[in-house]
Symmetry: D2
Subunit: 279 residues, 4 copies
Amino acid sequence: MVKNLILIQCDDKVGLVALISSILANHNLNITAMREFVDERSFSFFTRIECSGELPSVSDLKLQFEKELPLHSIISINPKQEKIIAILVTKEYHCLADTLTRHFFKTLNAKVCCVIGNHKNLEDFTRQFSIPFYHISHENKSKSDYEAEIIHTLKSYNPDFLILSKFMRILSPQFIEHYQNRIINIHHSFLPAFIGASPYKQAHERGVKIIGATAHFVTNDLDEGPIIVQQTIPVNHAFTITDMIVAGKEVEKAVLSKALQLLLQNRVFITGNKTVLFE
Amino acid sequence: MVKNLILIQCDDKVGLVALISSILANHNLNITAMREFVDERSFSFFTRIECSGELPSVSDLKLQFEKELPLHSIISINPKQEKIIAILVTKEYHCLADTLTRHFFKTLNAKVCCVIGNHKNLEDFTRQFSIPFYHISHENKSKSDYEAEIIHTLKSYNPDFLILSKFMRILSPQFIEHYQNRIINIHHSFLPAFIGASPYKQAHERGVKIIGATAHFVTNDLDEGPIIVQQTIPVNHAFTITDMIVAGKEVEKAVLSKALQLLLQNRVFITGNKTVLFE
Amino acid sequence: MVKNLILIQCDDKVGLVALISSILANHNLNITAMREFVDERSFSFFTRIECSGELPSVSDLKLQFEKELPLHSIISINPKQEKIIAILVTKEYHCLADTLTRHFFKTLNAKVCCVIGNHKNLEDFTRQFSIPFYHISHENKSKSDYEAEIIHTLKSYNPDFLILSKFMRILSPQFIEHYQNRIINIHHSFLPAFIGASPYKQAHERGVKIIGATAHFVTNDLDEGPIIVQQTIPVNHAFTITDMIVAGKEVEKAVLSKALQLLLQNRVFITGNKTVLFE
Amino acid sequence: MVKNLILIQCDDKVGLVALISSILANHNLNITAMREFVDERSFSFFTRIECSGELPSVSDLKLQFEKELPLHSIISINPKQEKIIAILVTKEYHCLADTLTRHFFKTLNAKVCCVIGNHKNLEDFTRQFSIPFYHISHENKSKSDYEAEIIHTLKSYNPDFLILSKFMRILSPQFIEHYQNRIINIHHSFLPAFIGASPYKQAHERGVKIIGATAHFVTNDLDEGPIIVQQTIPVNHAFTITDMIVAGKEVEKAVLSKALQLLLQNRVFITGNKTVLFE
């Protein structure tokens, strides 16, 4: 049986579920899983529907939804199955390795088009997986030149998402706007604690008993974008900063992996500075 | 705005969501939260719908659902808000205290009608909360006499649920049948590990690195009923059995409290030997 | 066999463990559990030793330690078993109830001397446990008058610790100094995130995917004192602020309970703005 | 400053800590971290000591310990830093990939000598990391022939540990004895629940709300050896068996990785059917 996926984000109004489900029933599509959420603050409605059955033409169904749903609804029917992602790294390998391994064994649910590093130490590892690696150094050039080089390199790949896998440089508003809502970062703290540089050093100095990691969309405000996934793990007084860094890598990896899984299965909606996740 | 709650459990068929949501839309009821689940093994459909708006008469709406939904559907519309619960205890106070405290401050979402203990040590504590305490000893009488006494005591209260708050006696099939799907037990292990007596002793001897607790419905098979909530916590080699018991009480309390919250908010469905939870 | 407890905090130097353990061996005291930690930043040494055997006079043993250990060592031998604690509350019951219940069943390992509230709603509940309740309102008086009243009330009880069980007022440096290192607060966020008022509102606005609680010693810097215990729990987009508050209470309760247990078993050392915990 | 590691496991007696620490102090070795544990059931004593300073000859120090400590003490001074491990796999890649990645980036703290698979699908991936892969099929041969082939292959590598990274075959007592206390397995359930085959299927049928994984030493009793690490994660009614398998892989990976880290840092002692871990 053909499985279909329908994503809708629109203004809330009475009877939306009935309206949408009736359209599907009229086409003899059987809802096998449905998640919906109404944000009562912004009067927004979100739904993710899996249904089985032979779809009429996607464009016809979309037109029908557009006619019946509130203006400016965002409707996606059977979105592209295998998204294309580009990975930006600096020196740390753990998040990159996790993604490339899943890619190798075809469990990532996406195609990794390339890896771009401002250092060279992850080149051999990346090449080993037959993925192109571009060394684009940030040294001796302006930020805008540096970023133009990245954008130029990415152009032909046309990636759906950019994954900052412990990419330790701050991107300009121009760069971020270029990939709006398409850049995911992993920050090595349970945000909003320890925004910015050296969060483990900050955590050690504060004497916290937990550390954590946050996967989030990147916006112009440093570490302030919509949060996708967060987790924490316990630490104690005996942890040095190095111990925290080592332990933290495991959470960073788990958090990014979870965020990618949700994202690539079309389970993440953005609403203002927040996310709606249908797990 | 009036809030309504609708619970439906029935055989699955194409268009159920459309059917149900259309009936609601026809009555101008707006779905504010909806959860549904299809168990593809048993072809069963479960939904929990919160909707706002003025309900037609409950019986009319129910009739309409019964006419349109598959035979043998279980339909509940605006179920009794404040359930009545009776608590059975032996000697341990932690689960009882947690429930009585919430009851006292009106956050339990239920009325505790009485506490029955086969020992007397929790009597003063219970009375302090102005809850009737019945000491029904199991000593020097047959199990059927003992249970008949409990049933007789509970009769006038007509409780919706019996909570075994560390009640350490095994109930007979006759007793259990008398309160079918209405008895909740807290077992002090992560079932199915360590079924039966002295789970912490068993856990200590096995050298496990986690202990846990399980809240479940009681059926004739000891510790085999549908599981509602489970949690675990880490332990290590330095834990004595007593340390495990002490640490375990915290999980038992948390697990029972969570199970009661779900149950009393009508978020728990039973299907065969499992539960469907709409959290 | 008599069990003894010895706590030492001093400057680090070569051979401290040998020195201390030899003194114990000379008195035929057998170490049954020993924890030690060297803070390599501050060159401080901490140890907690349980040993069995007949102690010579406590003062003699202490003198011997003082002679052999570095200057300014803090040595405690068989500290007072049952500490006295006073509880300050505002309106929320969950932390208070947890502590009073343990006190009632003699598992708190401390004596609750009294509860002081700036509101009256917890009076009946407290009295029910035969604990004195003092209603000291902060209204229509200066902060210094208000705090003087609290200090005056506490004077005769001479408490070892003050527990702020969701006490929602900020104490003056003078008050804090009066009970230096003896005031424990429960803050309803995973500090240092969401310092100050309404952390759940802040958390909701930020769209975090975890919330948490922190038990810490109170110092002059708001929510900046040494952290004892922290925990987090997951939340999602469907949580309203109220849902977060309700869910958060469970973590607050667990975190405070754990902190009290450690504190009252003499397992907490303070070093600068951090704690060393021997769990 | 030279860092030394001393591991001792012996019968308990009065004054052991004093005895051991005095010997170290006499050699001007400063204890920087010390963990000890007395198993009061078996009267066994375990300690792991990190000390800094110039060691006398290892054999002299060992002799001195042997003279002073109880008979049959197991003493290890500065054990081999980089252990050699061999990995046995069947078809699943996640645990293998995690270990090989850490090996590649030199954070495993061990040398992976080879990978042996009874299927071929992990060969390319392994070779990519320049690690020898041996395909030893179990088909068309007796178990003893099959195992003899593995033992023969491993002989020249002389591995310290065999890691069963989702190796799905049961080993004979003869094989296990050959590598006594040196084989680590990852079992895909929170033991002792769901021993044996298809634990996720068992878990799904039982309707549990948690799943987990266990890393343990292999003994003759299937899934009954000393447990090193266990973790659980929540699941719900919507999880199919496949969903459980996918989610479970993440715990399996985390649990094995943690167990290896402890093992390779000499933090794991075996006592009877349990482990003592100095984390």
